[in-house]
Each structure stands twice: as C-alpha cells, then as structure tokens.
Symmetry: C2
Subunit: 476 residues, 2 copies
C-alpha cells in the first residue's frame, strides 16, 4: 500500500479535525431540530434529482460539504414535527457508542472479538428478561433488527415444536404459524423464507380495534389442522404496525399452552412498554411467551439497528442454529459468551453499548418516562381529533400510533380517499411536518407515530390546522 495513502487514510490528525468539526455540526443540528428552529422536517427531493446530485458530487463536490449535504437531505427525526415512521429520535450519546463500535470494530462472533460488548450484552439482556417477568432460566441476545429477530424466533419455534427435524432432515410436510392479519409484514416474510408458503401463514382476522380476534383461534387452528398443516407457533403483535394495536397476549398464551405450540411476541415497537408503570398492563401475558422481540431503535431511543431477542428458556437461545435436534440438546450447555452461535449473523456491531450506556446514565426510569409520555400524548391527540368535526379517528390508540383522516367536506368515500392521499403528498413536499399513511379495510388514513419527545399538543394542533388548510386548497 502506497505509504502516503496509508498515512492519509489513517491520519489521527485528520480524524481529530473532522471529528471535532462534525461534533459541532451535529450539536447545531440537534439544537435546531429538537427546538424546532428548522422550518422543515424534510427537504423533499425526488429520487431522480437526489441520485443525480450525489452522482455529480462524487466527481465535483467539495469534501468538506459532505456531512452538511447529508444533514440537509435526510428526514429529521429529532424535529418535534416528525411524526412519521417508527424509528427513534436517538438519545445523542448513543451516536458516540456507535462511533466507538465503528472504530474498535470487534466483530462479536466469538467472545475474543468483543470481550466487553459480549459481557455487556449478557448484563443487558438479563435485565430485560427480568423486566419481562421471566425467571432465572431465561436469556437472550441482541441481533441486527426486528425482522431478523422475528425470523430467528420462528426458527427456534420450528426446532422446538415441529415433530420432524426440519433443520437437519429438511421439509417433509406442510407447516404453519398463526398470526394476526394486522401483524408486521416481516412475519410473512420469515414464514415464506422458511418455505411455509401462503397457506402456512394462518391469518387470524382482527376485531374492531385491529387486535387479533382471539375468539376465532380455535376454529382457524382446527381448519388448518384438517388440511394437514402442522401448526407450530403463534405470534402476538405488541402492537400491530398500522394502528399500533396490542393483541391480547394473555389469551394467546393460554391458547398456545393448550395446543402445545410456541408463543412468540413481536414487541419490536411496543415491547418497551414493560418499562411503563402506567401502560405495562397492556402487555399482560408477555411473561408466558416463549420468545419476545424488542427493538432498541424504535421506542428505546437508540440508533438502527439493534434488537433484543429474549427467551423464556435460554436453552433455545443457545441452540436455534446448532446442528443438533432439539431433543438432543443439553440443558447445561451455556456457552453464553460466543454470540455467533446464537445469532443468525456471524459478525455484528457492538450494539450492546447503546443499551448499557442508557441504563447506566439514566436507568430504567428513562424508558418509563419516555414510553408513558408518548402513549399519553397519543391519547391526548385522539381526544383532539374526536373533538374536531373535520377529522375522523380510525381507532382509539393503544400505543403512540394514531391513524385518522380528514373528513371536513361532504365527499363520497372514494373522493375522501383521494383527498387524504393528496393531503399526505402535499404535506410531504411541503416538509414542515413528516407523517405517513396507511389503508385500513379499504379506507385511506393519515398515520402518525409520536416518536419524538419534543412533540407536544401544540405541534399536533398546528399539524391539524395545516392539514385543514391543505385540504381546503385541494378541494377549492
């Protein structure tokens, strides 16, 4: 390697200069966004123009403008007008743990490649298990995202519950899982990766609250069984994605026990409510789950992607990917410190540092305060919407996700759908607020996730005014 290039790339002087400059730049960004000084949450640009910009910048851009351009051309999760997708406005110090992980780059597959973060991961996951209500047989690990964690849990379920040894012997008959029709699409994806096909995903209809209609579990189970499908797992959503509705975990747990199938809770978004004294009762039954997923990068203020996968019986955490069939597993094997044996991925980031630092600096009180505040705010927003003649609430929120639509004019259903689509597109291009959209039983809704701890009823009130304004322009 050319010595001059080597010195340039690994120059500690450059790192220090760029680093200090960036810390300043990000501090200003954080101040301007959290305090709402920036007029926009997103500076909308089309994909084509954005692509052209960066293609050109590679040749002609000034190096020192790189970070500034990235800041301008991203969506500002720290802005109180950010009420969009479910990612956290990160606690700023977790950007420092991300930087430490990136420099040290310990790959975590084996203990030697990450002594501190491996031990820390165990401390952190033990704490979460305890909070769930699991006993000393429990255990878990961190992995790269909720989709991967849900897939991993279903693989554990397949190993533990399917009579045939699919891992070693391969498929030999139709398998199935049960899940609410309102669950996150990644459960479908996991099942299809495993080769279950559409018929192996037993979709349970939702009730009026968009929670799984548990009165239908028995009949759906029996129907699938009569079609020769061996059901090995049921997934509870905590909550569902579109409306943020929690399934009745306690009831599902009982059902799973009777049928001797695996009970998995996808708490990627709202599993963090275990920390909320006020709202934790909504998760009643979670401690009966065989496995639970909780994302750090959604309701726990961490950067993407870091997810805790917790098991009631840590034996399953150890052996999902082992070559042995489940009945051969040794209860006493506890090679907890070698992450690569437990996680899907071989190399992963030192993500445990985020969790630990937040616990260390602020304690569980942080997550109690944050989840409670955001869920409270959603209740308040729902009341505001109900009191407002121009808006219709889709369903009473059970978390910090609120879906609603503008109904301010006497329009036909089809026209209302078109109007709300138009409102959302106008808001996106305007950029003062960032919210998203969803379709529920054919009806088009605006969708907000109240992810930002700086959002207050004042911002939400301004949002409704803005929507009304946009709607009136659209139909005039």
């Amino acid at each position: 390697m050319d010595q001059a290039l080597l010195e340039k790339v690994f120059s500690t002087k450059d790192f220090k200069e760029w680093g200090n400059m960036l810390i300043t730049e990000l501090s200003v960004h954080l101040k301007n966004t959290t305090q709402g000084h920036n007029p926009k949450t997103i500076n909308w640009n089309t994909p084509e123009k954005e692509f052209a910009f960066w293609k050109d910048f590679l040749e002609n851009g000034k190096e020192q403008d790189f970070f500034e351009e990235v800041l301008k051309r991203t969506t500002h999760t720290h802005h109180p007008n950010y009420v969009g997708h479910q990612v956290a406005a990160t606690a700023p110090l977790t950007a420092l743990t991300a930087m430490v992980s990136a420099i040290l780059n310990n790959g975590m597959a084996v203990y030697e490649m990450g002594m501190a973060p491996s031990a820390i991961e165990q401390v952190v996951t033990d704490k979460i298990c305890h909070k769930i209500g699991y006993d000393e047989h429990s255990g878990g690990f961190l992995t790269s995202g909720g989709t991967l964690a849900n897939l991993t849990a279903l693989l554990s379920a397949r190993k533990a519950k399917v009579v045939h040894d699919v891992w070693n012997q391969g498929h030999n008959g139709p398998l199935g899982i049960m899940v609410s029709e309102e669950a996150h699409y990644c459960v479908d994806r996991a099942a299809k990766i495993m080769g279950l096909g559409t018929k192996g995903i037993i979709k349970i209809p939702s009730d009026n609250n968009y929670s799984m209609d548990v009165t239908q579990l028995e009949s759906y189970f029996n129907n699938a069984k009569s079609e020769g499908i061996e059901i090995f797992a049921i997934v509870g959503s905590a909550p569902s994605t579109a409306t943020g509705s929690y399934d009745k975990l306690h009831t599902i747990a009982k059902f799973a026990k009777v049928k001797n199938i695996w009970f998995h809770v996808d708490g990627a978004h709202g599993g963090a409510a275990i920390y909320s004294k006020k709202y934790k009762s909504i998760l009643e039954g979670i401690k009966e789950a065989d496995s639970v997923v909780i994302d750090g990068h959604k309701m726990m203020l961490m950067p993407t992607i870091t997810t805790a996968l917790l098991f009631k019986n840590k034996r399953h955490a150890q052996h999902t990917f082992s070559q042995k069939a489940d009945y051969l597993l040794d209860e006493n094997e506890n090679d907890w410190f070698n992450s690569g044996k437990k996680t899907f991925e071989c190399t992963k980031s030192m993500m445990s540092l985020h969790w630990y630092l937040l616990f260390k600096l602020y304690g569980e009180a942080l997550f109690d305060a944050f989840v409670t505040r955001q869920y409270d705010l959603a209740q308040e927003f729902a009341r505001m919407l109900q009191e407002h003649n121009d808006f219709e609430l889709a369903v009473r929120p059970m978390s910090n996700i609120v879906c609603f639509r503008y109904v301010g004019d006497q329009l036909e259903p089809g026209q209302l759908n078109d109007l709300n689509i138009k409102i959302r597109q106008t808001l996106l291009e305007d950029g003062a607020f960032y919210l998203v959209q969803t379709k529920l039983k054919g009806v088009h809704y605006l969708r907000t996730s109240l992810m930002n701890p700086f959002t207050t009823r004042v911002h939400l009130s301004q949002l409704l005014e803005k929507i009304k304004h946009v709607a009136l322009l659209a139909i005039s």
Copy 2:
C-alpha cells in the same frame, strides 16, 4: 416525560462535551495502536470476570470511565500485531459516518426515510457492479452483513430457478444447492433456514489447495438428481474461510450455465480483489455470476456490518421478497429507491455513507492499494514460513489468510496438534499478538488474516519468534 430528564438526555451541551472528549480519546487510541505503542493487542480476561466487572460497573462504575474501560477490554484491530479474525481495521473517518447515521437514524425502508443515503446507495452499488464487469442490466443494494446477503441471494436463486413457486406455494419436494466443503458456515445456515436439510446441501470436496474440486461437479450433480433433489444454485467461495482459497469461478460459471442453475459468488472477504490490478485475475468468471456478495467490513476498511449484494440482472434485486412469482415479474419495474422492498430487513442503518465517503476521499485506488498490499504480504509471510524449519505452511495462500503450524520438534501428529492448541491459548492470554486457529483435515493449524495495513514482515517475524519461544517453554 419528566422535563429535567428530557433535557439531560437530549442536552446538546453534554453531547458536545462527551463527543469532543471521545474524539480525543479515540485519536490517542488510534495513534497508540496503529503505531504499535500499546504492548498488547488484547488484554485477555475470562468471560466470567468480564461479566462480573460490567455487572458491578452498572451500579458502581464512574460514568466518565465507560469508554476507557471499553477500549481496554476489546481486541485492537488497528494494532499491527492484530492478525486475527476477518474484520477491518476501519478507516477512521468511517466512524464519523457511523456517528452521522446514528444521530439522523433514517431507517431506509422507504426513500422518504433516507433520501441522501438511498440515492448514495444506488451510486455506490452501480460503481461496484461496473467494477465486477456487469453491464447496465445489473444492480444491487446494501444489507446488514454477509450471512444475510448470502441468504438473500439464495432466496433470489430459489425464486428464479425452482420450477415450483416455493415463495407462495410452500415446499413441495427436495431442493438442493452445491457448495464447497470449505465454504463459510453461513451457506449451510441459509440452506437449513430455508428447510433444505443436510441432504439439500451438496458438499463438493476440495482439492489440495482447499478450492472446490470442480472435476467432481458433474458426478455430484447427477447423484443428487438421481436422488430426486432439484438443484437450483451453486455457490463459489471467493475465498473460502479457513484457508482463504478461491474457487475456480470461471469453471463453475460454465457448469451453472449448462445446468441452468443460479451461480452465486460469496466474495464477502475477497470479492474486494476486483479492485486489485495485480490480483483481480483470481476472480476470473465473477462477471458471469448471477449474484455476488462483498463485505465492506472485511477487506474494504469499513465498520460492521455492511455488505453489498450485486445482481447481474437487477430484476432479481427488486423481486426476491415480492409476492409475485418470478415469471410474473415485470422487467420494467424499477422502484430502486425504496430499499425495504429489496432487502431482507425493513429498517437498516445509513451504511451507504461509509462506502461513498471512502470512494469520494480516496477513490478506488485505496482498495487496489490495500488488497494488493495485504495479499503481497501473505505471499511474503508464506515464504518466511517455508524458509523456516520450525514451521509448516498448510497451503500456499491465495489471499491474505495464512495457515501454518509449529513443527519444531519431532513429535507425534497428536502431540503436534496439542502443542499448537497450547501455543495459540498461550498467545491469547499473553495478548501481544492476536491470531486464531483452524482444523484442516484433522490437523490443527494457527491461522492468520493479515487485515491490518500496518503489519509488516518485521511484525510477522516477531510473531514467529514468539511462537517458537512459547513452544519451547511448552515442551520443556
């Protein structure tokens, strides 16, 4: 949320203070490690003691000591005596892109949640496709790690090549893939997740260089076929994990074409050799592959985990996870800007920033220089070992991975294995060097990956002296 806690967590003043302090701390760390001032590459501690330390630190540790303790208790990839697992000594500025990603936390699932990084990802993957030798029909994306990328490629293969629509209809018969017995374990893992079982993983024996023995492809294919297995893919390793041996991609490509099966190249480690003018010929045939995996965090100096998955035909990049069967796919659909449709994961980090910044600041010349330097060094190390009576080279290196063992005394094979195991454990606990180990056809070897651009023949010479010293103590 308690206002005081909110202000504390999101204090820009705290972020700035901690941030500047950490930049200084990391600068010192980088200087001391890259220049080899630190006496140790790893300060070995047992898992139990490490766990006890961090459990106690959570209650009693001083906040301001956190990062210092993490630095002490991790393996120092930037130290020239680091010759261990295959993760990069990161180019320091990529720790800044990691920090930016962590603050902005744009989730990348849809274009709106990451305009700049989505466009940048397209620029970057187009560049890599071009370098592979693909034409304008190619395309790809970035995903969270090589294991996930290999799984994704095999899912693309299943969709494209298996006659039955497994994605929607589920498994209906035995499927198989062909792969060298020396391939990374994640290929096995992917196949077993998909439900292929052991019999669906057709392991091709390796030749004397630990490359796939391509003379046996035909007979293994026919045997599997006669057992009713539908083979849909063959995986070439570029290189294999244990010895870093490249498979003959050109020959495999021809075989795949004749059999009409998918050809995937796992170039997680050594795909980056496309940038080396001197060594790229070892990848001859790669442009015939239907898909190629290259890790950023191995030979491209980036932090974990970021992997490029490239497709000869970008249609496959778009539709692996779509509900449509392959034959229904529309050639013209090109929703390139919505990452979540293409990648396994829904939310991912803004990892494209690492790739782009390195291309922008240093150009492809960086990867040419780095790969060439490390592969050259491995050749030199191999010569040193061959000239040394006390050591035996396992196989002539084809990349920057070198396996060897100490044979300095007239010991029985079993005793030599025990001795080399003991040498490696002593070196680990000593910590001056960090290297790993592997077993090849029953023989225990010491294993080095020359990942660090500061490692020279002087360090390697000192390593051999150290091993000799340790060996003599062990047998005395």
